[in-house]
Amino acid sequence: MSSKFGRIIAGLLTAIFLASCASYQPTSRGIASTDEEQLMELHFQALINGQAPEQEMIDYIDRLVNLLILTNKDIATFEKELDAKIAIRKKNSRAVIEEPLASKTYTKLLKKWKLKDRYTAEIAYFYLRCLEMRTDKSLSNAEHQRIKHIQQNTATYLANTQDLQRVELQELMTKLSEVFTAFVQAYKEDYAAKHGGVVPPVDDTDAASGFGQALFGSTTDLYAYIKTHNTTTYTPSTPADQKRQAEFISTIDQDLGLIEDPDRDVQSVQDLTCKDGKQICISTGEAGNIVGKVFPKGVWAFTFDDGPAKSTTNMLAALASYSDNVNPHAKATFFQLANAAPKFPDTVKAQFDAGYPLENHSFTHPDLAKSSVNRVHEINDSNVVLTKEYQKIQSDYVIQYFRCPYGSCYAPKVPAVRQMIADQKQVHVYWRIDSLDWKLLNGPKVSALVTKQMQLLDHGVILMHDIHPTTIDAVKLVLAWMKDQNNNKNAKYKMVTIPEAVDLVNGAH
């Protein structure tokens, strides 16, 4: 009886679930991120509560880091291979090779980018969770020690594998701040418990800092790293740490051969782009997409899109009057629309006279990711029109950079568009700070958003629009802040144009 009943129930359940599976839809990236986090959390808990949690966690992260290193290597190889295919195709369009952007190599590259993101996210997640757990007062001292070791190991791995930069810096800062607030609270409670409820007599910040450091020493390491996060290599400060780093690197080298990766079947190809160790060059890969992450410390490229417009003249005036101890004058790069530039010949001339590079931002500002857009018109024709306009003033002027409207061809989303840009011998320029000036429409608010991020991120490309009068107010405020930092606070915020930034980055190699 019970067998029959069981069969009926199970049959019913199976039918219901099969029906629900049939309508299964893949969740979108943003919504799925919560599920991914849940999975990572489950994994984290499993490791933390395992038989030998510290060792299990270290082994696991060790493996993740090794996979990450392999993935990075593969990405570099696939990019070279893809660039080689593209170069062959450019030289001889009838060559019998796979269509580059429909090739297996490209598929592998996409896969590897995805893997890289996953591995990095997982390591960063574990690190942040450890950091968080260390403020949990319900844990015993032994548990705190264990978590501390795990977190230190994660931090070292992150730093050693040069991937801490990929962890959202802002997130870390927020997390640190939360931890610090918890220190302050814990310190106050601790003090009050020991002194019959009396409030601590000394300044919270110093005392809590000491208290926090005594409990959670390695946050200072992280602060130190954040201060110097522009350097891509973590340099240990003590000989013992240096030795540990050397040992770690040699271990990784040995491990490289041990990890199996089903996609590692790539033959080496000739490096046809970014020769001589250059980091930025014409490429459909990451090297051909300027974000500013590889700029030297303190270097910022201000960029203005969508002009020229009536307000551009005022923007030029705001920039013209600027100088500080680091910057003899302001520098900026303008990404212009081909349907606007011919209407403002005097403005274009003034921009040339002031020495600002003028670059391409398409013909009519469409979303180039849409297939209905006439991409040839927007990329190639705009180039012809803008070049003609610019060459009226400087006969040998060549447009070297392109920025897609809405940043919609930030690799690898629209490979075909990126290929068209590369075919024009131009490098795509993205950004690191979005000023949101088009939305905020308020000088002080935009300025606050930009300067706060400049302090956090240290270097990169800033996106603004010279078509909004309020952006001029914002630029004035950002410049005033920068002048104060450079002249009075010993800071070194250096303004560069995009071509100068590229020279700085490539010249350094």
Binding site: Q25, I31, S371, L440, L441
Partner: protein
């Protein structure tokens, strides 16, 4: 005992069938955006942008854990990546409705737009007028444009947050799914 075996079998069948379910093919970007542009009003799209901006600004101001705005707040980094595809939608919507708005009787338009604080749409109405060549605008429209942009810029933090909270429909909406998809 038998029941347990059946349950195990059921679980296996379930897992196998789910693992093998083919992912639905992605719709073409153009048709997806068309659908969204037909679904959402300009005001709704702009409120969604206000919501994301609020998250980004709060995230950058950071320090303390940013106060939650809605139940589905994405992380700052995610909100950052959603802004541009959303701006693309707003611009497309503006170009669709620009002429319609201009054809509205002037008095009605001015009355509706002067009350823009209620719909949190001062900025987007101002931007709409900003996108039209001044030679095509009447003096009253030029004055209205400047006034709308000024109103948007003068929004207090509290008012901005109230506007951001108006985007409650955004959680779990097709717009959110679109922005969160790999190629919005």
């Amino acid at each position: 005992m038998v029941f347990k075996r059946w349950l195990a079998l059921f679980a296996t069948v379930f897992l196998l069938s789910c693992a093998g379910a083919p992912p639905a093919p992605l719709q073409n970007l153009d048709s997806r955006t068309d659908e969204l542009l037909n679904t959402y009003s300009l005001e709704q799209l702009d409120v969604a942008a206000t919501y994301l901006t609020e998250l980004i600004v709060a995230g950058v101001n950071g320090g303390k854990k940013p106060q939650r705005v809605l139940s589905c707040d994405p992380k700052r980094g995610v909100a950052d990546t959603w802004m541009m595809p959303l701006k693309s939608l707003i611009d497309s919507k503006i170009s669709r409705v620009q002429e319609l708005y201009l054809k509205m009787p002037e008095e009605k338009r001015i009355r509706q737009w002067n009350a823009c604080e209620k719909t949190c749409s001062c900025g987007v109405y101002g931007t709409l007028l900003q996108g039209i060549d001044e030679s095509r605008l009447k003096p009253a429209d030029i004055a209205l444009r400047d006034q709308l942009l000024k109103k948007q810029g003068a929004l207090s933090e509290k008012a901005t947050r109230t506007c951001a909270k108006q985007a409650q429909w955004f959680c779990g909406s097709p717009l959110m799914a679109y922005l969160g998809s790999p190629t919005p």
